[in-house]
């Protein structure tokens, strides 16, 4: 099937000091019509920047230096600015990260919805009102008619997110950019929003660019996942394969640094230091992950590996030694990179040590 969105070798630069630094480097991604692509990584990895790139709302002074971006057989990069703006909110929908602060606090839901539908060309106030009520009903909001008179501060986070989803789907978009749509919500509300998004996308055939830091959530709801680090895609694979057998050292760390409900109860891996900022990227010639990589050696600082296909559908930005090297077992971590930071993972000893202490505790016997 022909891709709905195809991003090829895109480089986005930003001014830093006197020169320009690649904020996004060599991005290759594609989304099929009705497909779901997950973008996973920590803050600063460039996930949201891809969302802004696709929406055509890069920050001022950021620009696309190289590459091509094709959306529904149109070239997004060469497109006149006015036409590009017209796509956002119509063919490309957007759901922001902070639902509570994304609705104008001094205008009620009805007025915001009315403005949005008027922009989409729906004539007549009564018609727009009827459509707004129907859209709010479609996202399972109770009493949609009375909701039109309410303000963002009167709604919960989950309800604000539903209002924003209703607005995004009012135009039946071909592509939806969802920027961490459930991060600010608790688990049950997250499950409900994800279920709702899935239903609506299936109904309208909408493709999704799903930005999240939760690899396990992405593995369940996406078709393909791209793991991002410091402005680069470091690994791309079918969603479930990426969670079950991550190849890149960063993807592996991402999986084992967050606790799970059903995985083994091992000590969490935590990477040392931080993701390099824009200033640090300027002076970095080699692999951008090397300073934090548990298996980096002298070769890594000078060599930036390309994103290469290692198996059908599986792409990894890593040199041969990264993939052949087994991650260090306990004890072989170079000094200064190891244990304090939680690498390598070691078995959790809590049950045994607890049992001993609980018996000597004051109130242990009185606890039923």
């Amino acid at each position: 099937m022909k891709a709905l969105l195809e991003i090829q070798g895109v480089v986005v630069t930003a001014p830093v000091g006197g020169g320009r630094v690649a904020v996004l480097r060599d991005i290759d991604l594609s989304v099929k019509p009705g497909g779901v692509l997950g973008l996973v990584g920590e803050s600063g990895a460039g996930k949201s920047m891809i969302g802004r790139l696709v929406g055509g709302v890069l920050p001022p002074a950021f620009r696309v230096d190289r590459g091509a971006m094709i959306f529904a057989e149109r070239d997004l990069i060469g497109m006149p600015a006015a036409e590009r703006r017209g796509l956002l909110g119509r063919e490309i929908g957007f759901i922001p990260q902070q639902p509570m602060t994304s609705l104008n606090p001094v205008r009620n839901v009805g007025s915001l919805f009315d403005e949005h539908l008027a922009k989409l060309g729906v004539a007549g106030r009564a018609e727009r009102r009827a459509q707004a009520v129907a859209a709010l009903e479609a996202v399972h909001l109770p009493e949609p008619a009375s909701l039109l008179g309410r303000y963002a501060h009167e709604l919960s986070g989950g309800m604000c997110q539903r209002v924003l989803i209703a607005m995004a789907f009012a135009s039946r978009p071909k592509l939806l950019v969802a920027d961490e749509p459930t991060t600010a919500l608790d688990v049950i509300t997250q499950a409900r929003i994800v279920a709702l998004l899935g239903d609506l996308c299936r109904q309208y055939g909408t493709a999704v660019l799903f930005v999240t830091h939760d690899l396990r959530l992405a593995a369940q709801i996406c078709d393909e996942i791209a793991v991002m680090y410091a402005g680069e895609v470091v690994e791309r694979a079918p969603a479930r394969d990426l969670l079950s057998t991550p190849r890149h050292p960063y993807s592996q760390a991402l999986r084992s640094c967050s606790p799970s409900l059903d995985g083994p109860l091992a000590r969490l891996v935590s990477l040392p230091e931080h993701m390099p900022g824009l200033g640090a990227l300027a002076g970095m010639a080699g692999c951008r992950f090397a300073p934090r990589c548990p298996i980096a050696d002298h070769r890594c600082a000078g060599h930036a590996p390309p994103l290469a296909e290692t198996a059908p559908g599986r792409w990894v930005r890593a040199a041969g030694q990264c993939l052949s090297a087994a991650l260090p077992a306990r004890g072989d971590v170079p000094h200064g990179k190891g244990d304090a930071a939680g690498w390598p993972p070691r078995a959790c000893t809590r049950r045994s040590s607890r049992a001993i202490r609980c018996c000597s505790g004051r109130s242990a016997a009185s606890m039923r």
Binding site: G158, D262, G263, L265
Partner: protein, 255 residues
Amino acid sequence: MKNVSFRLRAGEFLGIVGQSGSGKSTVARMLLGLEVPSAGRIALDGADVTGRFSAHAAERTKRIQMIFQDPQSALNPRRRVASIVTQPMEVIGRSAWPERLARAKKLLAETGLAPEMAERFPAQLSGGQRQRVNIARSLCNTPRVLVADEIVSGLDVSVQAQILNLLADLRDHHEIALVLISHDLSVVRYLCDRVIVMYRGEAVEEGETEAVFRSPRHWYTKALLAAVPPDDVNHVWDPHTASSALSRLDPAIES
């Protein structure tokens, strides 16, 4: 909130989970004496510490410490780290600066921060370092109980892992109890021996963490667990399961 009863053993890590609005944070506020229950009592080592002006309020201040959710706003931007982490010493009496500085260095070492951090201001620290300072301050008066309200929810996963490992080290090397309030069940599984599930102001299930998570009894606990995406990709997760159980059994809850 009604009928919430629990005992916290010395050195025990207790998790309190539930959705927003379930009453988790009210429990924390009562432990600290910021909220007075309409009925019931809270006792620390047998002494009544219910409410702000209880007879043993001073003892509570020394023995129960809070780790705040947002380290950015919980640290005074005009004080240096050494002064922030030893601020609890001001509560128990005056101490000379060299003494405070020595204590600060010890606390920083315990929480994995370099000694030179003592001279810095909060604005010069990263998010993870600020949360460590926050934890160092709570340890200053060697409390018996720490109360932590959603302390890792806003952090990036790798910083979150550092903080969780730090708390795991406290558990293994210190005689200190923790009440961890979180909506993230996997965090509670990682750290806590016991868990209390709260729903609409009531504790609906309580028990050993592994036992509760492996075989939940209450429908709400089942819904909470079903809402978490699994690590095992062969386990097919359907977001409709959690959401439909809740809509069926409690249609009035926030949609």
